[in-house]
């Protein structure tokens, strides 16, 4: 119940409060859903390539929104693809001709096997905006969960559709959805490198930085407004910070040697990063406004890839002080580092879930590199992919999904996966090699 029930949008008018938050879905219905679960056909235009079936999936019907064919975005298709990708929902086919004003005969809908039904409409307002209305029905209890009206600029229609998916997700699972969040990643096409920002489904992509030189390690500020990254445009690794909306950028760290691996502190005031100005790669802490870095590690080995714990007190990082690279943890205030990974002789790229409980990282197994997930309270690491060139895992802000880079059919691709590895989907490809994904925070 620690969830924020407000859809993160100022212009959403909530006309009906959900009767119960969250609804208590009878467990046997979940199990029933599991027994009959089958891979719903993915909407082809979104290329949701679901490669597995999750344990429990809520059967949901999302009706095509009335007049959505006159809007710039196929609203219902976006919503369905979002819900499918989360692994928590199974799509139930629904006939057309329903909207938020339709009288819903519960018994009839239950007979179709759906536990919830989303209906809605799109209409054009006099000022050119689109009025997006939507209603979510709990077919089990026979009550309306959400009724919303949202006026969106045509350019924000995709975002509005993702927010509807978030609302459905939150009302049916009790947790915040991540469909209206964004993902940053880097593409390489020939000798052109581009830092992209897209919706969490890989659509609606825009380029934040284009360069003839490599770009690596994008990192979102906690407020979702800035990206830190490493650019080689001056023929060495330099850390930059760029405002996404305005494109204004500033050099944050350009010390002698290499400057890399930026990671924002959860309060957004500082960045941890790797500098080689005094020795081999070591960890430092810097204000977001620049200034003198404070050295965090004092080893004669490589220390890099810092990642803050959500409370901001610990830093997870990679060090080869024990021989091969392993993941360690140390207090930001200073103190001894404690080794976290013990299986395998090459463990890198730590990512920590927003609740601080789960570690994702990349391990080398023979000549393969695989994403692993490990509960920090104890438990053995488990491989969650069947690919062998995985890189750069990054958690969705609700901790339910990971995005990572991999290779498939000879290309560098981005995949999302549930933490149990059962549901994966491939983000849209544009013909370019995609790498270095970073999942943004809730805000934007």
């Amino acid at each position: 119940m620690a969830v924020d029930k407000q859809t993160p949008s100022a212009s959403v008018t909530r006309r009906t409060r959900p009767a119960s938050t969250p609804p208590s879905w009878p467990r046997r219905r979940f199990l029933g859903a599991l027994a009959t679960a089958a891979a719903a056909p993915a909407a082809a235009q979104f290329r949701v390539e679901i490669t597995g079936i999750g344990g429990t999936q809520i059967p949901v019907a999302v009706a095509t929104f009335r007049d959505e064919d006159k809007s710039p975005v196929p609203v219902a298709a976006v919503v369905r693809a979002d819900l499918q990708r989360s692994g928590l929902f199974r799509m139930v086919d629904v006939p057309g001709g329903f909207d938020e004003n339709s009288r819903i005969v519960m018994s009839e809908w239950r007979g179709r096997g759906a536990d919830a039904l989303a209906v809605g409409s799109v209409s054009r307002l006099a000022d050119g905006r689109q009025d997006l209305r939507f209603k979510l029905w709990d077919l089990v209890k026979g009550e309306e969960l959400v009724g919303q009206s949202h006026a969106a600029l045509p350019a924000d229609m995709r975002l509005a559709a993702h927010r509807i998916a978030d609302s459905i997700y939150q009302n049916l699972t009790g947790e915040r959805g991540v469909f209206s969040t964004r993902i940053a990643y880097v593409t390489r096409a020939g000798s052109r490198y581009s830092l992209h920002v897209t919706d969490a489904d890989g659509e609606g992509g825009q380029i934040a930085l284009a360069s003839p030189d490599p770009i690596i390690s994008p990192a979102w500020s906690p407020n979702g407004k800035e990206l830190a990254y490493v650019s080689f445009e001056s023929q060495k690794a330099v850390v930059w910070v760029q405002d996404i909306a305005s494109g204004q950028r500033r050099m944050l760290a350009n010390f002698r040697g290499s400057n890399s691996a930026p990671a924002w502190s959860p309060d957004g005031r500082d960045l941890a990063l790797t500098l080689s100005r005094d020795a081999v790669a070591q960890l430092y802490l810097m204000s977001r406004d620049g200034g003198t870095p404070r050295r965090l590690t004092q080893s004669s080995a490589i220390d890099t890839e810092p990642a803050f714990s959500p409370d901001g007190r610990q830093i997870y990082f990679v060090s080869d002080r024990g021989g091969g690279p392993q993941i360690y943890r140390m207090p930001v205030a200073g103190g001894n580092a404690e080794r976290i990974t013990f299986s395998g002789n090459y463990n890198i790229s730590p990512a920590i879930s927003a609740d601080g409980r789960t570690l994702a990282y990349v391990t080398r197994q023979g000549s393969a590199f695989k994403v692993m997930v490990q509960e920090l309270a104890g438990g053995s690491p488990s491989a969650i992919t069947d690919t062998s060139d995985d890189e750069s895992p990054s958690f969705a802000p609700n901790g339910r999904l990971l995005v990572y880079a991999s290779r498939a059919q000879g290309r560098d691709v981005l995949m999302t996966t549930t933490l149990d590895g059962k549901i994966k989907s491939r983000l849209l490809t544009s013909g370019a090699d995609m790498r270095e994904p970073a999942w943004g925070p809730f805000g934007r």
């Binding site: 390690s217 080689f232 040697g257 490589i302 890198i348 790498r435």
Partner: protein, 188 residues
């Protein structure tokens, strides 16, 4: 023997300048692990060396001088024309065979204290980008220390790294990897 080796190395470099580099690495280096990299290179130099080295036997050879790869109008032969130090897998040791080359560059830098040079470390494609960036940095710093020992002032040099981001050779086999584990000397 050392002299012979250097001559052959020079011939190999001339081959590289002659645009034969790619063919050379795909045919010869394929079967050559890092440690014996010079063995097939010697063979190549025997058969093709004279033309490329410009000693006058072949008459239709054209040697390409690629200014983007080399530091300008440096002599097309001799240790000063060499600007790449290759490393064994997982190694940061600057091998003795690069000593003459580093000595030659150190001499130039020592004679002109206003001259500056970047030492650019690189790794092969395997492993994480950030960890490889740090490994490439370590290689660059190993070359930097060697050159400081040879009399270059620390402030004339900067060790930087591109990690795995700028491979010299495309490919996912040991031949390509061996060509990519390197430090390049670049004038500033």
């Amino acid at each position: 023997m050392p002299i012979n080796r250097r001559t052959l190395g020079t011939a190999l470099l001339a081959l590289a300048l002659g645009g034969l580099f790619a063919g050379c690495s795909s045919t010869k280096l394929d079967e050559a692990p890092v440690e014996s990299r010079n063995v097939p290179a010697d063979g190549a130099a025997d058969s093709k060396g004279p033309g490329a080295a410009g000693s006058g036997t072949a008459q239709s050879g054209v040697a390409t001088v690629d200014l983007s790869k080399q530091g300008g109008a440096a002599a097309a032969s001799g240790p000063l024309s060499q600007r790449t130090v290759y490393f064994d897998f997982d190694s940061f040791v600057v091998k003795d065979e690069y000593r003459p080359m580093l000595e030659a560059h150190a001499k130039v830098l020592s004679a002109n204290r206003s001259k500056r040079m970047a030492l650019e470390g690189h790794t092969d494609e395997r492993g994480g980008r950030e960890y490889n960036l740090a490994l490439g940095q370590k290689r660059a710093e190993a070359v930097l220390r060697t050159m400081v020992l040879l009399g270059v002032q620390d402030n004339q040099l900067e060790a930087v790294s591109f990690g795995e981001e700028k491979p010299a050779v495309q490919g996912s086999d040991e031949a390509a990897w061996a060509k990519n584990r390197r430090v390049e000397l670049r004038d500033r």
